[in-house]
Symmetry: C2
Subunit: 371 residues, 2 copies
Amino acid sequence: MYKVAAIGGDGIGPEIVDAGKGVLDAAGEKYGFDIDWTDFDIGADRYLATGDLLTEDDLKELSAFKSIYFGSIGDDRVKPGILEKGILLGLRFHFDQYINLRPVRMLAGTQTPLAGKGPEDIDFLVVRENTEDFYVGIGSRFKGKEHRDLEVIRDIYSIKFGLDVESDSEEIAYQIGVISREGSSRVMKYAFDVAMNREKKVSSVDKANVLTDVYGLWRDVFTETAACYPDVATEFTFVDAITMWFVKNPEWFDVVVAPNMFGDIITDLGAMIQGGLGLAPGGNINPEGTSLFEPIHGSAPKYKGMNQANPIATIWAGSLLLDDLGEPEAAAGVLTAIEKSIAAKQTTVDLGGSLGTREAGAWIADAVRNE
Amino acid sequence: MYKVAAIGGDGIGPEIVDAGKGVLDAAGEKYGFDIDWTDFDIGADRYLATGDLLTEDDLKELSAFKSIYFGSIGDDRVKPGILEKGILLGLRFHFDQYINLRPVRMLAGTQTPLAGKGPEDIDFLVVRENTEDFYVGIGSRFKGKEHRDLEVIRDIYSIKFGLDVESDSEEIAYQIGVISREGSSRVMKYAFDVAMNREKKVSSVDKANVLTDVYGLWRDVFTETAACYPDVATEFTFVDAITMWFVKNPEWFDVVVAPNMFGDIITDLGAMIQGGLGLAPGGNINPEGTSLFEPIHGSAPKYKGMNQANPIATIWAGSLLLDDLGEPEAAAGVLTAIEKSIAAKQTTVDLGGSLGTREAGAWIADAVRNE
Ligand SMILES: CC(C)[C@H](C(=O)O)[C@@H](O)C(=O)O
Ligand SMILES: CC(C)[C@H](C(=O)O)[C@@H](O)C(=O)O
C-alpha cells in the first residue's frame, strides 16, 4: 500500500491527473499493490479566492508523502511568476528536490520534427539541477539610490554604466544566480550513477566562457566528480552549442547533466525532438524525501475541461513515480501500455487517434491490466 | 573609399577573413567603391606571447573605424573565458555594440535538419541585446566570510541555505545579471523598426515567470515600446518554449528580440536549423559607432591553416557589413553570389562541393564580379 498525494492544479491539470491515477491503479491491480490517493486543492482558483499559494499546512501534510503526482499550474488571470514561483518552484525548493529527471526518448509510432531520426537515435536522459542557479529568486528592480543595498549595485553601476550610484535614477533590475559545491556535487553524483547503468557517458552543460564564476565552479565540481568514475566518458558542452547537437545529432547523448536554467531550456527542446510536449514527463526527486512527478507541459487553460488533452506525458510521469517507489516492473508495464496505445492509434487527436483524455487514459489502463 | 579594420583572430579565423576580404574587394570593383583594409594582430598568439588581450592602443586605433571584420577567437591553450571575455565581449562592450543581428535564413540548396521545412519556412531575424544581462561580468566565487562584500551574499545564504554567513565556509559562486530600461528600450526600438520593413511581427523572449526582476523589466519595456508601433503584432515567448517552436514552426517568426544570454542560445539553434554554423553570420552593431561583423562559429583550432573551413558565414557577415556601410546593392550582390556558389556546388566539402576555403571564396568573388 502506497500513500500518494495528488495535485491536479490548473487548466487541464485535473483531467490528466485523473487519467493517470486510473492507469496507476490498474498497475496496482496487475502488479499487486494499492495506492491510497490524497487530493490537494492547490492552484490558481484557491489562490484567487484566498490568496494562498502554499500554506504551512499544505507543506506539513505533503511532507508525510514520498510521492506527489502533479498536473500543471498556470492561469491567465494571474501574472507570470506568481503561481510558478509560489507553487511549483515552492514545492521543488521546500522539499529540496535537487534532481529533475527528464528522459528524452522517442517512442515508436510517434513523430519527431527531425529529418531522418527515429527512436533508435533519440534516447537520452537529462539530469537537471533543480534547487540553485538563477532559480533562487534573488533579485530586485529599482531606481538609483532607492535600493536598500548600495553595496550590491555599486559594481553594477560602475562596471556597466560608469554612473554615480548615489545620484543616478535610471531604472535597473538585477538577478543573482548561485551555484554551490555541495549543490552541484550531489546532482552530478546522481548523473554519473545513472550513467553507470546506461552507456557510461555524461555530457555537462554550462556557459563557463562567459558566466565564469558560477559555471567555473560547476566545471570544477564536474571534473572532480568524473575522477571518481573512471569508466564514464565525459565532455563539456556550451549551452548554445548543445541546442545544435540535440537537433543535429541526438544519438550522441546518453546522460546530460545541466544547471537549473539551462536544464529548463534544453529539456523543452528535448521534449520537442522526442515528439512534443504531450509526450514528455519529468520527475523532481529528493531520494531521501518527498518527490514530485509531472508532465513537462503547462496547464493549457484554453482546453480546460474539454477532455481533449493528451494524458500520455502525465501517465509516463506516473511510470517514473512507480519506479521511484521501487516498482520497476509496474513502471515498465505502464510504459509498454503507452507504446501499445500509440501503435494501435488509441490516442488523442494530436497523435493521430480520436479519443478523449479520459478514454485514452482508460485504454492504457486496460492495456496494463491485460499485460 | 571605406576604411575597414580586419581581425583574423585564432584557428581558422585568418583564412576565412582572407576569403571574405577577397569577396568584399570584388564587390567594391563591381559596385564602385574601394576598401582600405587595416589588419590587427589580436588573439591567442599575441596573448600567449605578451599577455595582451585588448590594449588601449588597439581600442584607440579601432575607434577610428566604422566597421571591424572579425574572424574568430578561441584556442585550446587558453582557459575558457579569457579570450572570449577579453577580446570579443571586450570589443562588444567597449564599442557599445548593443545590437547583435542574426539573420536565420535558409538558403536555397542547403540542408536543414528539420523534416519538411525549406527556405520558404526558415527566414527570420533575431535581434539580440548585446551589452547587458548575464554578460556584464559581475560575479564571484568564495568561501564563507572570505567574500569582501557580505551584504551581497547575506541573501544568498539565508534564502538558499539558511546558513550563517559569518561562520559557514562552503564554496559558493554567484553571478549577477543586469537589465536596464535604457538598454532594453534601445534594442527593442531597433527590432520594431526593422519589423516595420518586414512582416510587422515581433516576438519577445524571456523567462519572466522565474527571473521575475530582470525579465519583468524587460517585459514592461517591450509593452511600452510596442505601444509606439500599433501596426506591429507582438507576442511574449518563454525561452524554453521558443526553442521548441524554432524546431516545430520556424515559419511563425519574423523578428525575435531577445536578452543577451537567451539570444546567444537561440541563435545557435537558429544557425543549426538554417543549415549549420558554416552558414550563419552575425553583426554587432552600434549605429553611431564602431560595428563588428563575424561568423557565428568558433575558431575550430583543429582545422587551422588546412584550407578546409567553409568561408560562407564570414562572407555573409561581409554582406551585413556592406549593408551597414550603406551599400545595400553590393550587400545583396554578395548574398546572391553565395547562393550561386551553393547552387553550382562550388563550395567546401561540408556543403557537398570539393573546394578549399580559398577557392570557395574566389569562386564567390568571381560571381560577384560577373553579376
Ligand atoms: C513553469 C516553470 C516555472 C518551470 C521551470 O522553469 O522550471 C517549467 O518550465 C519546467 O520546466 O518545469
Ligand atoms: C564566444 C562567446 C563569448 C559568444 C557569446 O556567448 O556571445 C558566442 O557564443 C556568440 O554567440 O557570439
